[in-house]
Amino acid sequence: MAQTSAPPAKDAELTGPAPSPRAIVRARRRRAAARAWAEYRRNRVGMVGLAILIVFIALAVLAPVLVPSSALDVTQATGVPFSPPSAEYPFGTDESGRSVLALTVWGSRVSLLVGFLATVISVLIGSVVGIVAGHFGRWTDSVLMRVTDWFLVIPFLPLAIVLATVLGPSLANIAFVIGITSWPGTARIVRAQALAVTARPYIERARALGAGDWHLITRHILPNVVPLIFANTVLIVAIAILSETTLAFLGLGDPLRVSWGSMLDAAFSHGAASIGAWWYLVPPGLAILLVVLAFTMCGQALEAVLNPRLRGR
Amino acid sequence: MTVTLLDVRDLEVTYRTRAGDVPAVRGVSLQLDPGQTLGLAGESGCGKSTMAAAILRLLPPDTRTSGSVLLDGEDVLTMRPGRLRAVRWTEAAIVFQGAMHALNPVRRVGVQIAEAIHLHDKVTDEAADARVGELLEQVGLPARRAASYPHELSGGQRQRVMIAMALACSPRLLIADEPTTALDVMVQAQVLDLLAELRRELGLALLLITHDLSVLASTCERIAVMYAGRVVEEGPASAVFDEPAHPYTRALSEAFPTIGDRASRKAPHGLGGDPPDPRELPSGCAFHPRCPVAVPICPTTDVQLWPAGPARRAACVHVRDREPAAS
């Protein structure tokens, strides 16, 4: 059979004084992560998704370098409004004569930022709820699951609209609204895993040894839950970005900031559709499509790495 | 002169996977006459379940098969699809292991048995239902069990339902693939008794596949032992079990302690190592890495089934080189 032991040089920790259990666990986790990455690299779909994401994130981070922020200033716009793509304006102009290309590049910042922020909120709430419900069980579980089910059943957009209208238009509010309406998905997955881990015999033994809940959660449940959360998170970002786009399109986003959704709102409100100004509508939509696809592809690849049964789909 | 019911000649089955070709069965030949029983034994992964599926051409699409499987003179592997579907279940039927997943979980068992009947015979629903009742009673279940769903039955009951379903079209050959695995010992015995009784009543030929050699010793007339996709020994059941000629057979029979024999209980023999990976088979005799009596010529000899006594054969160099002694 093939050799499975790592070359001695890497196990320097094991040649010195006996390593602490924590060091052993950390080393094991690092090796597992490396194996997972190697497995992920073999997934073509996942690598393509990752490549697309890197491009867009680079675009968002480098936006100030690539396109001067003055391009967003309506008072400094020099183009003819609603003019089709040309050499000077590769993506044409908007209703104020600004370059659509500049808007699309800058729009990536808000769209991605809000997406990530909303995801962090969503995953945080979802994980906490899931772990608490799965670990403590019984009454806590019932109550939390009731709440989770409510958020799952309630249609997203009407709820988001009501909340966003009340809270007012700002990036933080939008991120908050998306976050608190999308955590149930994560909560369910995390809860299932927390339940499974809590039921394992070594948990009972650890408790007999005097382990408290905090210790059990941080040392046993959390490590088992993190890979799952990670795969799930990637898919949530995709949904969050789509949600931000929808809310911005309806006019609930920050009116002072450009996002892909707000571009679509502006385009539509100013009659780009009736004029046929497709150049104003295609880039932001296409950007969203690519980013969401990329996240979905990465998410599916991650799930395949974690669950071998799904490979080859 | 009876026509051989099942005549498998040089059957080879290879699975085509992403990681390459996996040879599961590498040239197996078997014969079964009407009313006979043949037991097929071996560890998991030796290819016996693949054999069972191959007989009725039930393998997944990406498999390569060669050789011939003659069922009553007709080659199953070259039949036209229509003929194949007609032959399935009416000539030979198969009882799978793990009946929980082998039955449709959302249909009543009676409906599933009736489906087999309707497929091959134009009968009214009432006639089919009556036959379903008969079949269930034949396997020792009350006829009203036809209205149950698989999850409402115990493991042993589900196995009986599978057997009843297999008998629905009065086949001449019954292939039982691990019919007693996952059942507890008492139920195992009941199922085996049932199979023996049905054999007697209906004159069925039985191909019984299992990893438990002792099960075969009591139920079958002949035994064939498989290892790494090939038959390594075959012969009369009692002879193979009591005096194994092949070292692998010996190891298999010793792995199961004999009840009542104190000596075997105190010194159970396991067989070290794992079954070989079909993609990286050892050269020569595939068993030689684990064989307790391996000799230097084992890795280089192309072993075949050599005579090892009256109506017995074994694929071991020791058998070949032994003086033909009066046994």
Binding site: D149, F156, V166, A273, V292 | P105
Partner: protein
């Protein structure tokens, strides 16, 4: 002991389960009411002043309005009043339209029902078919193509697709003229009950319905394909083939019905997605339903209408889920108890 007591009340396990689901649904609806009520109290400003914002109204009338909202009374009383009113069908007065919210909603509900109903039916049939065919012929050109298209449709904002279709077929691109109207439900002046009127509505319905159907079918296709792929690995299908069943029948009689079970669950779980689509698409196509109403309401902002629509949509989805929960055991005998 509790079960014995329950049994003495004639409550079988099945009835207990039904009761449990109904109680759950009522609780969810109740929580929607609580949510609405407290949101209203959180709103900035004085509702009476908001209502009379752009009109010259004598102070006593404003005060009378304030009293009609019950704002002077203690909170529990306000809540009780709110619940009582809601159950009676009184959802407040719209800021924008100055009419009862229930009237406004009643006017706009049928266009939405028409649009959503037709889109969901079409997308379910087409989506499930594509998913089944894709899974059955996994790896084929059809499968790979439909998978790519489904993923793309799923990843794009449905209103973006709507706008593009609007430009392509409503406005016309370049030399090609628009084939369909660009908005509304009918051409002004047409009698909607006449045959010409019905055809006119159909023409207006075409593009929004096409957009929603495409948007929804992507998800249905993906879910069905996934469920069926899971199911195709099961042993009982080999048994079915062994019995002599044709491959097509193995699929139709055994694999697909079983794969539909988790698919149905997932589809019902995502009903909120259907509702969200209605809001954005009605906005794009000026389709005068509840979705467009929501858009108009959030622009004002017309809180009573927003809450009323939220309540209605939530109730619809909750009821649909309860029905699905109650009907599911009839489809899957493994879930039945007793």
């Amino acid at each position: 002991m509790a079960t014995a007591a329950a049994r003495s009340f004639g409550l079988t396990a099945a009835n207990r389960r039904i009761g449990g689901k109904l109680v759950g649904a009522v609780l969810s609806l109740a929580f929607v009411l609580v949510f609405n009520f407290f949101l209203f109290r959180v709103l900035p400003g004085d509702p009476a002043k908001n209502l009379t914002r752009n009109r010259l109204v004598p102070a006593e009338q404003v005060q009378a309005l304030r009293e009609s909202f019950g704002l002077g009374k203690p909170l529990p009383q306000q809540f009780a009043g709110y619940v009582r009113d809601t159950l009676r069908g009184d959802l407040g007065i719209s800021y924008k339209f100055r009419r009862p919210v229930s009237d406004v909603i009643a006017e706009r509900i049928w266009p939405t029902v028409l649009l959503l109903g037709l889109s969901t039916v079409l997308s379910t049939i087409i989506g499930l078919f594509i998913g089944i065919r894709g899974a059955w012929r996994r790896g084929s050109t059809f499968d790979r193509g439909s998978l790519a298209v489904s993923l793309a449709l799923y990843a794009m904002p449905e209103f973006w697709l709507g706008i593009l279709l609007l430009i392509a077929f409503g406005v016309g691109v370049g030399p090609l003229p628009g084939l369909f109207p660009t908005g509304g439900i009918s051409t002004p002046g047409t009698d909607m009950t006449s045959l010409a009127g019905v055809l006119d509505v159909a023409r207006h319905l075409f593009l929004p319905c096409l957009t929603l159907t495409l948007a929804y079918l992507a998800e249905y296709a993906l879910v069905m394909r996934s469920s069926l792929l899971d199911e195709l690995g099961e042993d009982y299908l080999v048994t079915a083939r062994a019995k002599g069943l044709r491959d097509a029948l193995v699929l139709r009689r055994h694999a697909v019905p079983n794969a539909l079970l988790p698919t149905t669950t997932l589809i019902f779980l995502n009903l909120g997605f259907v509702v969200s689509g209605a809001i954005t698409i009605e906005t794009v196509f000026s389709w005068p339903g509840l979705g467009l109403l929501s858009y108009e309401a959030l622009r004002t902002p017309d809180y009573p209408v927003l809450q009323g629509v939220f309540l209605l949509f939530s109730a619809a989805v909750i009821v649909a889920n309860v029905l699905a929960d109650l009907l599911y055991p009839y489809l899957d005998p493994r879930v039945r108890t007793g």
